[in-house]
C-alpha cells in the first residue's frame, strides 16, 4: 500500500489514466517488454501500484502483469539461505512452515504490514523492489545482508541488499530487470533478528522502526547491527551506534547523540525529525527488552 506525502493540489483524480495491459507468459516475456518500454511498469501484487495509478501519480504506458507466472512464489531452503520467491504474497509467507521454523521474525514483521486483504495480494518481491522507506522488508533485507535476485536480458544476477537501496524509491534495478527472489542467510547459532516499530494505528506505516540483527550468548549481546526504517529515504544503517551500544549498554543521551550524528532523520506528517530521533533511541531499549524477555 502506498503512503504519500501528497501536496495534492485541491484534490485531483481517483480514476486511473489509460494504459495498456499485458499478461506476461513467463519472466523472459516480461523482461523483453520492460526492456523495450521505459514507461512500462511491472504489476505483481498491485497494492502499491494501483493506488498510485488511481490517483494518477503514475501514468505508465503499459502494465506488465507477472502475477500469474508460475514458479515465482516458492519458499524453500537453498543451501545456507531461505529463498522466498518474488511472487510469494505476505499471507503465503506468514502461513509458511519453513518460515515459521527458520525465520519466525518475518512472520512477526508481516503482521505489522497493512491488513489481511492487502497481505493476500501484496508480494514479497514487490515490497523489496518498491523500496518504500517506511516499509519493513527492505530494512530486514539490509539488516540480514539478504541477496536480491534479479533476472534480466543478460540472465540472473544477485545483489546484496546493502547495495540495492540507493535513494528515495531508487534502487539498483536496471530497466530490463525484474526481482525474482530474495535469499535470506539462515540464522546461525546464537543469532536472532529482533524488530519493533512505533506507529499511530495498527497496520499504518511506522513513525520509526528498527530491525536488529543480534548475535548473543544467553542474554549477553556479542554483536549486533541496527537498521532503521521510516527514518529517511531508505533503510538507515546505524553501525556506529550499534558499536557504541555494545561498549556502553543502553544510555539514552549517548545513543541519541550517536544516532543524530550518523542518520539524517527526515520528518514527515506524523513525526518530526526530532521525534524520529527520539523514537529511534528508545527503540533500542524496546529491542533489548524483547531480548531479555
Amino acid at each position: 500500500m502506498i503512503r504519500l506525502i501528497c501536496y495534492l493540489m485541491g484534490g485531483k483524480y481517483m480514476k486511473a489514466a489509460n494504459f495498456s495491459y499485458y499478461e506476461a507468459k513467463n519472466i523472459q516475456d516480461a523482461i523483453k517488454i520492460k526492456a523495450n518500454d521505459e514507461e512500462a511498469v511491472i504489476l505483481a501484487g498491485g497494492q502499491s501500484l494501483l493506488p498510485a495509478l488511481n490517483m494518477r501519480l503514475s501514468s505508465p504506458s503499459c502494465l506488465i502483469d507477472i502475477s500469474k507466472i508460475s514458479g515465482l512464489n516458492d519458499i524453500i531452503i537453498d543451501g545456507d539461505y531461505l529463498f522466498i520467491g518474488a511472487l510469494a504474497t505476505h499471507s503465503d509467507v506468514m502461513r509458511n512452515e519453513i518460515v515459521s521454523q527458520k525465520m519466525p521474525c518475518l512472520i512477526d514483521i508481516l503482521k505489522m504490514v497493512a491488513h489481511p486483504a492487502i497481505r493476500n495480494k501484496g508480494t514479497h518481491g514487490g515490497s523489496i523492489a518498491y523500496g518504500d522507506p517506511a516499509a519493513e522488508l527492505p530494512a530486514l533485507a539490509v539488516a540480514t545482508n539478504a541477496e536480491i535476485i534479479l533476472s534480466g536480458q543478460n540472465g540472473d544476477r544477485s545483489i546484496n541488499a546493502n547495495d540495492f537501496y540507493l535513494g528515495l524509491f531508487e534502487t539498483a534495478i536496471n530497466q530490463d530487470e525484474i526481482v525474482v527472489g530474495i535469499k535470506y542467510p539462515l540464522l546461525k547459532q546464537g543469532q536472532v533478528i529482533l524488530f519493533d516499530e512505533v506507529c499511530r494505528r495498527h497496520g499504518d506505516y511506522a513513525m520509526a522502526g528498527l530491525i536488529a540483527n543480534v548475535n548473543k550468548t544467553g542474554s549477553k549481546v556479542n554483536d549486533l547491527s541496527l537498521v532503521y526504517f521510516a527514518t529517511g529515504d531508505k533503510p538507515d544503517v546505524a553501525d556506529k551506534t550499534a558499536k557504541l551500544f555494545l561498549q556502553t549498554g543502553y544510555d539514552y543521551e549517548q545513543l541519541k547523540n550517536s544516532l543524530s550524528s550518523e542518520i539524517d532523520f527526515a520528518g514527515d506528517l506524523n513525526s518530526s525529525s526530532e521525534m524520529k530521533l527520539h523514537l529511534a533511541t528508545i527503540l533500542i531499549k524496546k529491542i533489548i527488552n524483547k531480548l531479555e524477555a
Binding site: L8, N270, L279
Partner: protein, 797 residues
Amino acid sequence: MDDIKVNQNPKLGSIDRPNSYIGRSLPRENAKKHLDGGGQFVDDLTLPRMVHVAFLRSPFAHAEIKSIDTKTAKLSDGVIDIFTAKEIDEVCKPWVGVLGHLGEMRSPEQSPLAKKIARWQGEPVAVVIANSRAQAEDALELIEVDWLEKDAQVDMETALDPNAVIIHPELGNNLFWTRTVNQGDVDKAFKEADAVVETTLDFARHTGVTLESRGIVADWNKAENKMTIYHNGQAPHMMQHIIAKHLDLNEGLVRIISRDVGGSFGIKVHVYPDEMAVTAISKKLGRPVKFIADRLESFTTDIHARCHKISGKLGVDKNGKILAMEIDDLSGIGPFSMYPRTSAIETNQVLNLSGAPYVIPNYKAVGTVVFQNKTPMCQYRAVGHPIAVAITEALIDKAAYKIGMDLDKIRKINFIPDNSYPNKSPSGVPLEDLSHQASMDKLLEIMDIKEIDTKKKDDYEKGILSGYGVISMCEVTNPSPLFYGVGGAHISSQDGASIRLEGSGAIHLSSSITEQGQGTEAIMKQIAADQLGVKLESVRVTLGDTDATPYGGGTWASRGAGIGGEAVLKAARKLKDNILNIAAAIMQTDKESLDIEDNNVVRKNGGEGISLQKLAETVYYRGHEIPKGTNPELLATASFLIEGIPFVFTNSAMGCQVSIDQDTGIIKINKFWAVEDCGTQINPKLVEEQIRGGVIQGIGGALFEECVYDDQGNMQNATMADYLVPMAYEMPDIIVDHVTTNSGRSIIGAKGAGEAGTGGAPAVIMNAINNALKQVGAEVISQPITPEKVLKALGKI
C-alpha cells in the same frame, strides 16, 4: 434480542401489552438488506442517458483565474461539454450564507463555480461532462488555466491583523461574525474569588470522513418540467426549496429522493457548490447527471469544522463554588459562510453551552469568527460542544487541583440541581428536565473512582503514567424554529407523520425524518406499532422522498426521535382512534370498550373482535355495510414541533481512564464510561450505539484527526492513509448506562441522543491525560493530542 429496559414513561401505556415495543432493543429487520448487498446508495443508481462529471478545482488557496482554455479538453474521448461559471450562472443564481437572527453577519455571494478568483484550495472552477468519470478526468488534464497565485490568509490568528490578506475587499476585513454574551459582572466576581484558574486550548480543523462520500444525481425532465434529485443529504425538503429557488423552478415540481446514506454526521446537510452545479448542468442538458465526490475531493471539499483557539478563566470560592467564568473564542472558517445554516453556529454553540451544566452567576463569552482561504466550514456532529465542554471541564479540573478538591465533588456542588428546572444555563439559554446530579452519581457508581485512583498510584510507582477524568455536559437536541427558521432559513422545525391501514391489513407509515443508519426507520416502526397495537412486521415505512412523505426538516441536531417520533405517536393514536370509531359502529358497542392488539380490534372484556384486515376490507370494499354517518377514515396525519424554547437539552456524564507510554507518547484509552439521559429511549440498543459511535468520533478529534495545511494553504494530508481516522484496534469498549428524565414537551418524552458522545469524549480524554501528566508537572492544551505533543509536554523532545 428482547432486552426490556423499562422507561417508566406512564404516558405511553403499559409495557405488558402484546405490542409494547417502545423501550425494547429490537433488531433492525428492515436494515438487513445492507448485509445482503441490497443498499441503494446514490452511486448505485444508473439512469438512461446519464452522464458523469469531474470538477477542475483550484490548486491554490487564493488565485486569480485569468483564463480557462477548454478547446483541447473538449475534444477528449467521451466528453460532452465543459462548463465554467458563465454557463452555470445562466441557470443557477448565487446564494449568501447568512441568517438574520444572529446579529450582523457578513458573507459575500457565492456561485457554484468560481468566477474570476478562486478562494480556497478545492474550489470548483470548471466542470467536465462526459460519458464516464474516468473520461471526464482525462479531459481535466487537458484544460489549460492561466492562474495568477495570490497571497493567502491561512492563519486565523492573524486574519484580523492590519497586514492580513483581505479575502473580500468589499468587506474591508476578514471578520465574518462576532458575538458577546455578558451575564452578571465577571470582573467583580474574579476579584472576589479565592482561586482563579486560566487556560488556553486549541482544537485543530478536522472533517467528517463519511465512508460514503457526497453524491448527487440530478435528473431534469423537460417534458414534465420536473427536476428529480437523488441525493444522500439529510434534509430533503430544505434542498427542494433551495434548488427550486436558485434554479428558478416551481418548488412543487422539484422532487428530492434520499434513499440509503452511508453516514452523514452533518456533513451532508449543507449546500455544496459542486452539487448545485450538477443540478444546473442537468437543467441545461435535459438529461441525468451524476456526481460522486471521490475521497481526495471529500477531504478538501466536505465541510471542515472545529478549528478553535479558546482561552478561559474560572473563579471559585474556597469551597469550590464557581463564581465566574469567562471565555474568549476564535474560530477560522473558509472564505464564505456555508449556506443556508451559516458558519457562525459552531461558535454560537460554544458561547451558549460553555458552563451549561453548572450554576455560574457571572458569565462572559466572546466569540470571533474570521474568514480564511481554506475549505469552508460548517456544522459537524456535536457542533461546538467538544470545545464548550472541553474548556469548561478543563477549567473545573484546574480549579479542583488548585484548591485540593476531588474532581467529582467540585462538579457536584456546582451542578444546576436536578429539582430546580426549568432553569437557565450561565449564558441564559432555557434548560429543563435535566439530571446532572443523578447522572454523575450513576457514573461514579459504575466507574469506581477509588479503584482507579489506587491503580493510578500503583502505576506511578511502576513508572507508568495513568489518569482519569469525569465530565458533565448538555447536548442540544430537538431544536425549535428559534434555531434556523427565525433567521429566515427555509428549514422546517415541524415534522409530520402520515399513517394508513390498507386493504390488506398492512400499515404504511411515512415520516419527514430521514435515515442515515442511526435507525430512524426502526424506531418509527416501533412507535407506530406500539401505539397502534399491531405487530412490528406489519408496518412498512417510507422516508426520504419529498413527493411521498409529509413536509418537514429531516434529520440533524438529534431531532429525529424527539420530534419525528412524537409526530408518529400522534398519528398512530389518531389512526387508532379512527379505527376504534369504525369498529364501535360495526360492532355496535362503545369505543371505550375496545382496544387494538396484535392487529385485531378486541373487546376489553372478552368476546368476539374483528381483525384490522377485515375491518379495512369492509371500509374499502363494502362501505355500504358501515352505519351511515360513521365517516370511516383509515388515514391519519399529525405533526409536531417544539415551541417556546430554542432546544430540548439532554445531559450526559462521562468518564475515562487512560495510560501514557512515556517513551512513545502514545495514549491508551483503557476504559470509557458514558451515562446518558435522553429521556424515553425508543430502542435502547440504538441509543447505546449512537453514544458509542459518537464517542469514537470524538476520540478521533481528541487524538488523531486534523486537516494539516502548509503556509500556502495546501492541505497536506488529504488521503485516507495520511488523515488518521479511528480504526478498530486503538479504540476502547465503552460502557453505557442511563438515567431517564422524560422531556415534558411531548407525550413520547424522547430527546435526541446522536451527538453527546462526540461532544463529551474530547473533554474527558484531555482531562484524563492531563490528570496523568500532572503527576510529572506536564500538561497538554492542544487537540489532537498526538504522541509528539505528549513527548514535548514530557520534555522528551
